[in-house]
């Protein structure tokens, strides 16, 4: 494993020397989505071991901030758990910046319930109706006569954004929904609340909670990769124009076999 990393590093280093004459003491600023953050952290650590002369500064701040940083050219790489919006693209063009998306990993969002819940499958429409509060009792979807406790992520989270886009189709989650600022808190809450339903990133699944199938399909790395699982999304890193120099070598590292192994370690789904 160490060897393959060394080989990758060597190749990228060679590539660097060939492509840019100022490869010494490069600085890379990476900023954006907190969903991508654990991946970026693992990758950056490994990258800095392989390239001791490179200093990477990494920070969160949300997808919007990541893309904004690329547009303002305050970061070399902007992390985002969503694609760039039309409004942002216009802003970029006005500033003479061409944001280029790089798909670096996949993420799949799984609806979860209390382990005692008898329901094991929900359709996309049922999920949407539950989060719109038009379905409020588990018996309406084939479960026990129990009130549904809808739990959502905070409105600023990237996971919430994906849920809103993929499940809610831009309609509003009921204001009665409980919110949790973190994935961890959400798992605890579902584990202790009989009627609860929530959604989490695949990496956070454990034995205390029960994952639901969506439209009969189980959320997993496999069903996400073959596109059958409906609630999945790609994670992006944006650069200004096609990357060069250190930025290119960094992006290449993520897309390498070693990089994708690190993606899996960070709890997301590798591209291959």
């Amino acid at each position: 494993m160490k060897k393959s990393m060394g080989v990758t590093a060597l190749f990228t280093a060679l590539f660097l020397m060939a492509s840019s004459p100022w490869a010494m003491a490069e600085r890379l600023a990476i900023k954006g989505s907190t969903t991508v953050l654990p991946i970026a952290q693992k990758i950056s650590e490994a990258y800095m071991v392989a390239h001791p002369e490179t200093k990477i500064s990494l920070s969160g701040g949300g997808s919007g901030n990541g893309i904004k940083a690329v547009i303002d050219q305050t970061a070399n790489v902007g992390n985002s758990s969503r694609f760039i919006k039309g409004k942002e693209m216009k802003m970029a063009v006005a500033k003479g910046v061409t944001p280029v998306p790089h798909r670096i990993a996949l993420d799949c969002i799984v609806p979860v319930v209390h382990p005692d819940n008898t329901v094991s499958n929900l359709t996309m429409t049922q999920l949407k109706d539950i989060y719109l509060a038009t379905i409020t009792n588990w018996k309406e979807v084939g479960g026990a006569d129990k009130k549904i406790v809808v739990i959502s992520r905070d409105s600023s989270s990237g996971t919430f954004d994906a849920w809103r886009g993929l499940v809610m189709k831009k309609e509003r989650v009921t204001p009665r929904a409980l919110t949790q600022p973190s994935n961890g808190g959400l798992v605890t809450q579902v584990a202790t609340t009989q009627g609860a339903i929530a959604y989490i990133a695949l990496g956070y699944l454990n034995d205390e909670i029960k994952a639901l199938r969506v439209d009969g399909i189980k959320g997993s790395a496999e069903t996400t990769l073959n596109g059958r699982y409906p609630i999945s999304r790609p994670l992006f890193m944006f650069t200004n124009g096609w990357p060069t120099g250190e930025t290119l070598s960094f992006i290449n590292f993520i897309l390498s076999k070693k990089g994708q192994e690190l993606v899996e370690e960070a709890g997301s789904i590798p591209l291959y």
């Binding site: 701040g61 409105s155 600023s156 919430f160 204001p175 929904a177 919110t179 809450q189």
Partner: protein, 322 residues
């Protein structure tokens, strides 16, 4: 600059000895060295105390600078009275009425629990409890005050909420009621210790006079001691309440976080501090959402100022009577 003027004013009585070369050095007490030392001590203390005012001013300025731009995209009325808080939608809704109501309701209900128990504990400790009992109780209550709020929040989330869920057979234990109980835990020590100090500072002669007139211990407490300490007790209550309204971690963890105006004791709520804490991390820097969160901070600050003014005026008014 201000401190120098202030010092000058203070120094006027001794100023003559400093300015006059011939007269001063003979007397050691008003001598030049002592006067200089005093001046250094006085002004350094003044500077130190001014630092906190400067810091407060800077924070206030920052709060206003970051919060006021909110009202360029949403009117003050729509902000304060709007029911819907959907800050990240397109188009967004920035109405914090539900957040304000959440804060107010959780503060009121927690003080309904904390005020009687805090004040009664204080009365027991200072008036009734045998010294040995007070020796055990008092440190225990003070220790409760030093519990980190995240610990109280975690306890509420993992232990109290599931218990509530079972006892009352409600869908979720994370609600207004549980949050109020946990907040009451936090404000009881504040209310109790300050009230107790107020009760203890009532001169013993008052009690003795009351007893000498034939009043029972209960009559002495309810008609003499407590009314005499009322200014301190009121301050204690208001400080306890302002602790509850500004508390963040506990409500973030146990209040449920739904931005609705609570209709029942078991509805989840989203008080202002919880909203700010959970959203600030991901709100785009200097975006609309960011400014709106600062404006929420201003609203919260106004509430705590109001509580402090109330506490000050209450202590003044009752003191005049006593």
């Amino acid at each position: 600059m201000t401190y120098r003027e202030h010092t000058k004013g203070e120094m006027i009585p001794e100023g003559s000895s400093r300015g006059d070369r011939g007269a001063a050095p003979t007397d050691t007490l008003t001598g030049r060295g002592t006067a200089l030392g005093e001046w250094v001590a006085e002004s350094s203390l003044l500077i130190i105390s001014l630092i906190s005012i400067v810091v407060l001013g800077l924070i206030l300025l920052f709060l206003l600078m970051e919060g006021l731009p909110t009202f360029s995209f949403v009117s003050v009325k729509a902000f304060i009275l709007g029911h819907l808080w959907y800050p990240t939608d397109e188009p967004p809704d920035f109405g914090i009425l539900a957040l304000i109501m959440g804060s107010i309701s959780v503060t009121l209900i927690s003080s309904l629990i904390a005020v009687p128990s805090g004040v009664m504990t204080a009365i027991y400790l200072s008036e009734i409890a045998p010294p040995k009992m007070a020796e055990i109780l008092k440190p225990a209550i003070e220790l409760l005050a030093s519990l980190p709020s995240v610990v109280i929040g975690f306890f509420g989330m993992v232990a109290v909420a599931p218990l509530m869920q079972r006892i009352f057979d409600i869908p979720t234990g994370l609600n207004l009621f549980t949050a109020s109980i946990m907040l009451a835990f936090m404000s009881i020590p504040t209310i109790c210790t300050i009230s107790e100090d107020a009760l203890r500072s009532v001169p013993v002669t008052y009690r003795e006079a009351s007893m000498a007139l034939g009043a029972t211990p209960f009559e002495t407490i309810s008609k003499v001691t407590v009314p005499a300490a009322l200014s301190g007790i009121t301050t204690a209550i208001i400080l306890g309440m302002s602790r509850a309204i500004g508390e963040t971690m506990v409500v973030l963890m146990v209040a449920g976080g739904a931005a609705i105006i609570p209709g029942s004791l078991f509805d989840p709520i989203r008080p202002m501090p919880a909203s700010i804490a959970s959203e600030m991390g991901e709100a785009p820097f200097r975006g609309d959402h960011y400014h709106a969160l600062f404006a929420t901070g201003i609203t919260l600050f106004l509430f705590t100022i109001l509580f402090n003014i109330l506490a000050m005026s209450a202590s003044r008014r009752f003191r005049l009577k006593g």
